[in-house]
């Protein structure tokens, strides 16, 4: 059995930590690229969302390299992502590509079913070792997210443009060669040291933009055309509350241990969207409110074309904009997204934020639909 898994930003770091520590043979698919998307688009239904297409591309690329089993997370949520495991299984079978799909999530059936699925992966490993590996993987994910956050903070302040990206990108490649959670964590520490030693302008107060929207497209830099890096090179600091480690902790660990979840976003979203309507719509609305309260200069919503929950959120955001006087730009991604139009919008949004700060806030603002 040779396992593979889909890419979503730095998720592979956490997956690698887990599989290394469990001693399971696996294969990391090539990083997301045009090729991945091309392969995925070819076999996926036209109106499926971008994440499904990219993931399908990941699996097929991994299959070519010898992988035979796919490890994915489900969603159990009302967004169609929860059904993607089944979709992938069916599509792969239709193509004639025999791969087994294991969905790693906290099933409603409880611990028994979860352990059964883990067993499928691990064979006869002792439960203590499994638990330890899960814990190490979770902490690795947290540290990887911290590192990304650090890079996002340093980037707009760096004196030599591109330094942060160079170091961070090297890290993303080096991780593949690191050994287990211990090796990865050491690499993260070393990289953090490198990032901290970058020469920065200490007095520079960058504009701050919060990234909200659908989880895959906000987290995955290939999908969002490297938004943090683009903003950073414009001297704008990007922040994102939805992270891989956050998802693991909130949706898997806390669910398993029956711990109360962090629902601050739901409280913030309440006047606008009082119920979970699927996907990350409530997070999107709630986080926009929270960013506004935290004094952020603007918010960018990103989602893949045809994403229902985010379409609902987008129609609510103009009210948040008016009430909190915070500009929101919406960017919708799909395989047809033109880079030029995207860049023009980002630059114009940057100009708008800069002028607003220069002039001080005035009056009310209206929806920045971006299209």
């Amino acid at each position: 059995m040779k396992i593979t898994f889909p890419h979503m930003g730095n998720t592979y770091i956490c997956a690698k930590a887990l599989l290394d520590d469990l001693g399971i043979e696996y294969l990391i698919p090539p990083f997301n690229s045009k090729k991945t998307l091309e392969i995925g688009t070819k076999y996926a239904p036209e109106f499926a969302c971008l994440p499904l297409k990219i993931n399908l591309g990941n699996f097929l690329q991994a299959y070519e390299m010898g992988a035979d089993t796919i490890l994915i997370t489900g969603g159990c949520g009302p967004c169609r992502f929860g059904y993607y495991g089944e979709m992938h299984r069916e599509i792969l079978r239709d193509i004639g590509c025999e791969m087994d799909v294991i969905t790693l999530e906290w099933p409603d059936k409880g611990a028994g079913e979860f352990l059964h699925r883990i067993r499928k992966l691990t064979g006869k490993l002792n439960p203590y070792r499994i638990l330890k590996a899960v814990r190490e993987a979770a902490t690795t994910a947290m540290q990887a997210d911290d590192l990304e956050r650090l890079a996002n903070r340093v980037r707009p302040r760096e004196l030599q443009r591109g330094t942060t990206d160079r170091i961070y990108k090297a890290f993303l490649n080096l991780v593949k060669k690191a050994d287990g959670s211990a090796g990865i964590k050491k690499l993260i520490r070393d990289t953090a040291g490198e990032l901290l030693s970058i020469e920065t302008d200490m007095d520079f107060r960058p504009l701050r933009v919060g990234i909200v929207g659908e989880i895959y497209s906000t987290i995955d830099p290939y999908t969002n055309l490297n938004i943090s890096s683009r903003l950073g090179s414009m001297g704008i600091e990007a922040d994102r509350r939805v992270t891989v480690s956050g998802w693991i902790i909130e949706h898997m660990i806390k669910k398993a241990l029956r711990l109360p979840r962090d629902l601050s976003y739901a409280d913030a979203a309440k006047p606008y969207l009082g119920a979970m309507i699927g996907g990350h719509a409530q997070e999107t609305v709630g986080h926009t409110v929270m960013y506004a309260r935290d004094g952020y200069d603007g918010v960018i919503q990103i989602y893949p074309l045809t994403c229902m929950p985010e379409i609902v959120a987008q129609s609510i955001l103009p009210s948040v904009e008016k009430d909190f006087d915070i500009p929101v730009l919406t960017l919708i991604m799909d395989e047809m997204t033109g880079e030029a139009g995207y860049q023009t919008r980002l630059e114009a949004f940057g100009d708008l934020l800069k002028k607003r700060r220069e002039r001080g806030v005035y009056g009310k603002t209206v929806a920045l639909s971006g299209g």
Binding site: N32, K35, D351, L352, R359, V366, L368, S369, G370
Partner: protein, 328 residues
């Protein structure tokens, strides 16, 4: 007479390449509206050559700005001191022409934008993402199909006597609907007027949704030449539309103004290559880089065989290379 300082603005768009020269008091000395014809480099060379012949001996360029979808390319070819996105450039120009402007409607060759300003700053903007229906190229095509010069297209609409509803959501459907209406015997004037109304409806539904369109409203971009569209806007909004004198080169005018502002706060000399630089031979070449999974399409701009700029790479390796070789 002693020579004055001047500023050059270049707007390389999908359909037109526009050049504007302004003087120290922001007056337009010379303006050009040329068809890009799919060849931005030759359009720019042509433009610079024409400017040079007309006013080359009279002006001294102190700063140059580039904008439009081809702004990066223009920036390299002319040696721009500032490269700015077209949304900001259009806003700057409109504010200069109509101080206190609150809404800018801009329709160009391939895109349309709405810019909302409040208290002298851009507060909100939107750009069409869905479709090019309602932009200049579509009108161009319809004018050609109906054998009407594009410059007279709008005046036909004004002669309409009854209203015909054309489906304006998508260019392809709009065209089939126009043909359908024409086959059922509607007059050309009525159909063209119907088209203008459909495009305005599409623009307002697509871009202006949930935005407060307050006066003064400025309508600019190549399509502002179409009096049929302008009239349809006035009817739909129930408000007055101002069309500035240089409506077709507002982006370039904005770029020139931004260049002037930039040079006022900078001590370094202009990067402008000069009018004679057009003698150089420019060529663009695309390379697909296979060094990593991104497989970027890198564009290389060669001047007399020497690379002067590269872009399109995500890692910066190629763009850096060009910069280094420039120094060395």
């Amino acid at each position: 007479m002693e020579k004055q300082w001047h500023y050059l603005g270049v707007d390389v768009g999908s359909v037109s390449t526009n050049l504007v020269i302004i003087d120290e008091s922001d007056r337009v000395i010379e303006k050009l509206y040329l068809r890009t014809g799919g060849q931005p480099i030759s359009a720019m060379r042509e433009g610079l050559k024409m400017l040079s012949e007309r006013v080359g001996s009279k002006v001294r360029i102190k700063g140059a700005g580039a904008t439009g979808s081809g702004r990066q390319l223009a920036g390299v070819i002319i040696g721009a001191d500032v490269v700015k996105n077209e949304i900001t450039a259009h806003a700057v120009a409109a504010q200069k022409v109509v101080p206190g402007v609150k809404t800018i409607l801009e329709i160009g060759g391939q895109d349309s934008k709405i810019i909302i300003l409040r208290n002298g700053i851009v507060y909100d903007f939107a750009m069409n993402t869905v479709c090019a229906a309602g932009t200049g190229s579509f009108l161009d095509r319809q004018a050609a199909r109906l054998n009407i010069p594009i410059s007279e297209f709008g005046s036909y609409a004004l002669k309409a006597t009854s209203s015909v509803r054309i489906a304006g959501r998508c260019a392809v459907f709009a065209e089939s609907d126009m043909i359908h209406k024409q086959q059922t015997g509607h007059s050309l004037e009525d159909i063209i007027n119907g088209l203008c109304e459909a495009l305005v409806r599409n623009y307002l539904n697509n871009l202006a949704k949930s935005k407060d369109i307050e006066e003064p409203i400025v309508f600019q971009g190549g399509v502002a030449a179409n009096i049929g569209i302008a009239a349809a806007f006035e009817r739909a909004l129930g408000k007055k539309i101002i069309i500035p004198g240089y409506y077709d080169v507002m982006g370039a005018y904005g770029a020139a103004l931004i260049a002037k502002e930039k040079m006022a706060s900078s001590n370094s000399p202009s990067a402008f290559c000069g009018f004679q630089a057009i003698e150089n031979e420019y060529r663009a070449k695309s390379i697909e880089c296979h060094d990593c999974s991104n497989q970027c399409e890198v564009i290389e701009i060669l001047s007399n065989g020497e690379p002067i700029a590269r872009w399109g790479d995500r890692c910066g390796k190629w763009s850096e290379l060009a910069r280094n070789s420039e120094v060395g």
